[in-house]
């Protein structure tokens, strides 16, 4: 049980560190930090995308990969499964987590809603990195309507 806390604390510190050195709170600087966080998550996701499916058999289609993310990846990182996965069958998937572990300690409602995106950037990168190792180019964005429920939208880029 202590393992989950280790990652949560580390993640909180990462976000705090990136925002602490901000002399200019303008939107330009914010975007930099968000993309740095997302980049970190991407590299971690790439490595996880190699290690986690090691014993599983080959994926047959895109939906299998998404299901793997919702079940195995989420369990490995957050010790719980994703609560819902929806798709429009045209390359867009919405993954919803009703009690996201990185947000659950902050609030349970609308307080701190503006601060929430910072804490989701790393996870967006994580999803994008894992998808990229498994051969899927995508764009991942996150949205929060009320803590701790959050939605990750994955749009597959058709090249």
């Amino acid at each position: 049980m202590a393992d989950a806390a280790l990652f949560e604390f580390l993640h909180t510190e990462m976000v705090a560190e990136l925002w602490a050195h901000h002399s200019d709170p303008g939107p330009g600087g914010q975007k930099m930090s968000l993309s740095v966080l997302e980049g970190m998550g991407f590299r971690v996701g790439q490595a996880l995308g190699e290690r986690l499916p090691q014993e599983t058999l080959a994926f047959r289609e895109e939906l299998d990969v998404l299901k793997f993310l919702c079940k195995d990846l989420w369990v490995a990182v957050f010790q719980k499964q994703m609560d819902s996965l929806r798709t429009n069958h045209q390359g867009t998937y919405v993954l919803q987590d009703n009690s996201f572990p990185l947000l659950i300690r902050m609030a349970a409602g609308l307080q701190y809603l503006e601060e929430a995106p910072k804490f989701l950037a790393f996870t967006c990168g994580l999803l994008r990195g894992a998808l990229s190792t498994l051969g899927i180019k995508s764009l991942v964005t996150a949205s929060v309507a009320s803590l701790p429920t959050c939605k990750f939208q994955v749009v597959i880029q058709k090249t």
């Binding site: 190699e50 290690r51 499916p53 090691q54 058999l57 080959a58 190792t133 051969g135």
Partner: protein
């Protein structure tokens, strides 16, 4: 026991290729290159035949008079190709599978190395020594 080991990225360029004896390397490079076609054929064949379980180990790709070539694909479409001496008849399927499993484990370790950029050639010494241990097992 393996004579040549190659790791091919999903865009079909080599990430790592090594063979012993070191002279006549080009012949092995050609063999690995031609085996890529066979690998692609097997992957697409598996996709169409609605097999319930898709294995990562592809088995014997093609035999030549002196050598046998085996293949393995990971979930991230990275291919491992191994060329074995035909005269070594003691090698069984299980041993080949375990060699591929070791390769896969070492490759995963390389991926997780923060100093490694995915897509670069593999320079890791640990990976090298693991491959050496697989190749030099002559009595």
């Amino acid at each position: 026991m393996a004579v040549c080991v190659a790791v091919i990225a999903k865009e079909n360029y080599p990430l790592y290729i090594r063979s012993i004896p070191t002279e006549n390397e080009l012949k092995f490079h050609y063999m690995v290159h031609t085996s890529l076609d066979v690998v692609d054929e097997k992957i697409s064949a598996m996709g169409k035949a609605l097999v319930d379980q898709r294995e990562l180990y592809l088995g014997l790709l093609y035999p030549t008079e002196d050598y046998k070539v085996y293949g393995y694909v990971t979930n991230s479409k990275v291919k491992f190709v191994m060329v074995v001496d035909s005269s070594n008849t003691a090698l069984r399927d299980n041993e080949i599978r375990s060699m591929f499993r070791k390769l896969h484990n070492s490759y995963t370790d390389v991926m997780c190395n923060p100093f490694y950029n995915p897509g670069d050639r593999i320079h890791s010494r640990a990976f090298d020594s693991m491959v050496t241990s697989m190749m030099i097992q002559v009595c």
